[in-house]
């Protein structure tokens, strides 16, 4: 099942599947089609009241509810974890309102992946779709408080003040200090806030084989990076964008203490009376590398 077929779900099959009424589903899908047609453009939409407080992933959840079909297999993560309270609650709500929808923690098996703060480490493949919970959809928010003015800036491609922020960062810290929500230009036009994923994850959006859909429930905005689309982090020509290094003082690369990976985003776990341990943030990737010892 491809993302395209998911978007083509006939309206009649929606009855009592997915919490949202048909009208809301159509509204979301129209918004998503527009977002895919204008990569990186923030499409306003009528965000529904959800039985979860806004700011707890309602934007991402509405996207999932509007897209999911009974044949889908859903994965929900918060940070890199499938079992955190937030992820569990969201997954429970979605499956309760979408009877028959299968869930999985395995990235390889998922068709829909709803996420907060991470992109799975495993290379995504056609047939999958990423859905992001977004707190702040507009990268210009840090430099311009007025939404009307921000819209004009986007319309004119006027991102000079964002660049000035980068300049000031380099002056002050000798590098761009933005650790997550790193602004990136999509398809050579609009600059997006890729949601609070770490820099580490940003290159995964570039020319990715899957669609990445972003939903901000509180701010009532949708935007998208279609498959195989350029996503270029904002960076000066002579100060290249760099992801987290996870380097020890001797410059060697930390490895995951559990699976030994040296090519994943690591969490630093402080230890009492011992050096910190480093562990894969993406739990599924860590388990997969170990051959799923718990049979998860």
């Amino acid at each position: 099942m491809s993302p395209a077929s998911s978007l083509q779900r006939p309206a009649s099959s929606c009855d009592r599947f997915g919490f949202l009424d048909d009208f809301a589903v159509r509204e979301m899908r129209r918004g998503m089609l527009k977002a895919l047609a204008i990569p990186g453009y923030q499409v306003p939409y009528a965000s529904r009241e959800m039985p979860i407080a806004r700011g707890f992933g309602t934007g991402g959840m509405q996207l999932t509810l509007a897209l999911a079909v009974p044949q889908d297999r859903l994965k929900v993560i918060d940070q890199g974890a499938d079992d955190s309270v937030n992820a569990v609650n969201l997954r429970r709500f979605i499956t309760a309102s979408c009877p028959g929808l299968a869930t999985t923690t395995r990235t390889a098996e998922a068709t829909l992946i709803q996420t907060r703060h991470r992109v799975p480490e495993r290379q995504l493949a056609p047939g999958q779709m990423m859905i992001y919970q977004v707190p702040y959809p507009d990268p210009l928010q840090i430099v311009e408080p007025s939404e009307a003015k921000r819209r004009r800036c986007h319309a004119h491609g006027d991102y000079a003040r964002l660049w000035v922020k980068l300049y000031e960062d380099v002056v002050r810290f000798r590098e761009v200090s933005i650790s997550n929500r790193y602004p990136a230009r999509v398809a050579g036009r609009y600059i997006i806030d890729p949601s609070p994923i770490p820099r580490w994850d940003l290159p995964k959006l570039h020319c990715s084989p899957v669609a990445h859909l972003f939903g901000a429930g509180r701010e009532k905005k949708l935007y998208a990076v279609p498959p195989f689309t350029e996503v270029v982090p904002l960076a000066f020509d002579d100060i290249p964008f760099a992801v987290e290094g996870f380097r020890a003082t001797d410059c060697s690369r930390h490895a995951c203490a559990t699976c030994g990976a040296t090519d994943t985003f690591l969490d630093e776990i402080p230890q009492v009376g011992a050096p910190p341990r480093w562990l894969c943030n993406d739990q599924d990737r860590c388990a997969e590398r170990q051959g799923y010892p718990d049979g998860a």
């Binding site: 000079a160 000035v164 300049y167 000031e168 002056v171 002050r172 000066f236 020509d237 100060i239």
Partner: protein
């Protein structure tokens, strides 16, 4: 002999605030002694302004408060749009644009890369939330520069040029003296190597010695860069020092125009005569 064409050719430039009526222009101006239309209440900020600006020239725009000086500059800098008239700008590459009719995207490009503006109030011309260097960087970034080192070096060069100490590059403009804020504004305005520079009362309110230093700087920039400038002031001394030619505005109209020296020696209009007399 080189056949020169003006950088800027302004004809009939008019800006009416309000809904306007058929009689606005006729019922206002120098002869009427007002700029508010008695028939409809609209403000005729400027009307029928015409002049040429030649390459490398400094043109003075003089007049009392409310005479329309800033309005002229705002229209030409595309911060405001004219109600009527034309203003043909000739870009360095020979392309010509009527500033009254350019679209918003073109206006942005011209402002970002071809024009520079220095305001009396530094809060209008500077971003007080970012450093001095950041203020200059913004203009370079608008012009598409993406090399950090180049931006840094260009900013330092511009600070040198405008006599702002290099060590202040990473300081906020709020920590600068009034004179230094104006010099920083000039540095920022010059960053994209503009072809046209607008200076609106840039020395007003500063100490005389500080004023003199800025006026000297403006003359040096003209000599070195050959950039054409429009200098707005209510101060005879400023046009005397800077401007080869001057236009005098009153109630939104040009009431006198010509070589600055001639205007000062032999003013034709009673208003200018009075101005010159009171300055002696």
């Amino acid at each position: 002999m080189v056949h020169e064409t003006p950088v800027l050719s302004v004809a009939g430039l008019t800006r009416i605030h309000g809904r306007g009526c058929a009689d606005c222009v006729r019922l206002t101006g120098d002869a009427a002694g007002r700029n508010v239309c008695p028939s409809c209440g609209s403000v005729v900020a400027v009307a029928d302004i015409s002049f040429d600006l030649w390459p490398g020239e400094i043109l003075g725009v003089m007049g009392e408060s409310g005479s329309g000086k800033s309005s002229v500059v705002k229209l030409l800098h595309l911060d405001d749009r004219a109600s009527a008239g034309s203003a043909w700008f000739r870009e360095g590459d020979g392309r010509r644009h009527d500033l009254v009719a350019v679209d918003e995207a073109e206006a942005r490009r011209l402002r970002d890369t071809r024009f520079g503006m220095v305001f009396q109030n530094p809060h209008l011309g500077l971003n007080f939330g970012v450093s001095a260097g950041g203020n200059i960087a913004e203009r370079l970034l608008c012009g598409g520069e993406r090399r950090f080192q180049t931006i840094r070096e260009t900013a330092l060069g511009l600070l040198d040029r405008t006599e702002v100490p290099r060590a202040r590059i990473d300081h906020q403009p709020g920590q600068f003296s009034g004179g230094m804020q104006q010099r920083l504004q000039i540095a920022r305005a010059l960053a994209p190597k503009p072809e046209l520079l607008f200076l609106d009362e840039v020395t007003t309110g500063l100490d005389l010695s500080v004023q003199a230093r800025i006026l000297d700087l403006i003359l040096e920039i003209q000599r070195e860069l050959g950039v054409a400038m429009i200098v707005v002031t209510h101060d005879l001394g400023v046009v005397r020092l800077l401007a080869g030619r001057t236009i005098v505005l009153r109630h939104g109209r040009v009431v006198e125009a010509g070589l600055t020296d001639q205007i000062l020696e032999d003013p034709q209009h009673p208003y200018t005569q009075q101005l010159v007399m009171s300055a002696l």
